[in-house]
Symmetry: C2
């Protein structure tokens, strides 16, 4: 078994956001994918320890901001390597509040999707949330950042709590600064 | 709601193969993703009408061949736009039989993953199969083909039965030749 194989699976780079009452949070996610086309259903894998997980369970809704290749590492670091438990990630972030009451991150975002949770699947360290798309909008022209672009061109790393973390891969604390 | 947003989600290009007794089949899939890292669990979304779906249900195992950017359209057409119900897709394909008894496609393949099904989730037109990785191997250097590379550089299209099909997008029959 060669874990390096997993580096060859392709993903995008997204901010998944949610809320609990008036509290907002969001996190970087790369496992976002469409599973059916009619109705449009998307699935996301979120670590149970993350605050966003708690908020999605609370509000039963989430948004997906599709990041542009130009999104800088400090921005990814804020949403990917820091926790909303200790800071307000939305303080210096451009966002809007959707009809669901939850935030949609607009910084470095090409397009967004909003979804309501239709099923929650418990898989050990992570939950797979299945959501039916309730809204979607194109915001700006741009090229969606892929996970490999993030690793190879941006020289970004993956935190241990990510579903696609590969054992032995060390997080680069520098990304979060 | 703008369905064009969905074009900005990122995926790879894979052949997912399985078997039923000595019968072999495989199909192009793009919704392949890791959902947990310990143990390594992957999820795939497969249309219920596909023969591969029937074989995965029968053998409870599948392989994922990660395609190289060099994979030609006729090869993708064979696995993506034609059905194993009417032809033997493995006739002119390089493959090996794994310990599970099921095939692994080796043509234009950078690396493969084998998995045993640990859960089957019914979602209308598609089933989400969750599999625990039982084997994986790097085969050749190369760049994994992404779904956007397939669309933008190869000028490939998406069949209506794919989980990521977007209504109004017409399949190009030419791909299958």
């Amino acid at each position: 078994m060669d874990p390096n194989v997993l580096h060859n699976l392709s993903y995008g780079m997204y901010v998944v956001s949610s809320c609990s009452g008036s509290k907002l949070n969001g996190q970087i996610a790369n496992t976002v994918f469409q599973i059916t086309s009619e109705p449009v259903t998307v699935a996301i894998s979120i670590n149970k320890q993350n605050l966003t997980h708690e908020y999605i369970e609370s509000s039963r809704s989430f948004s997906i901001s599709i990041l542009d290749e130009s999104a800088p590492l400090p921005f990814i670091g804020k949403f990917g390597f820091r926790s909303g438990k200790t800071e307000d990630k939305f303080k210096d972030t451009k966002f809007e509040i959707s009809k669901s009451g939850c935030p949609i991150v607009l910084d470095h975002t090409i397009a967004y999707i909003e979804a309501k949770v239709i099923e929650t699947l418990d898989y050990g360290t992570h939950t797979l949330f299945l959501g039916e798309m309730t809204d979607s909008k194109m915001l700006a022209p741009g090229k969606p950042m892929t996970y490999s672009y993030y690793h190879e061109t941006k020289r970004g790393t993956t935190p241990p709590k990510a579903p696609t973390y590969i054992k032995g891969e060390a997080p680069n604390k520098g990304d979060a600064k």
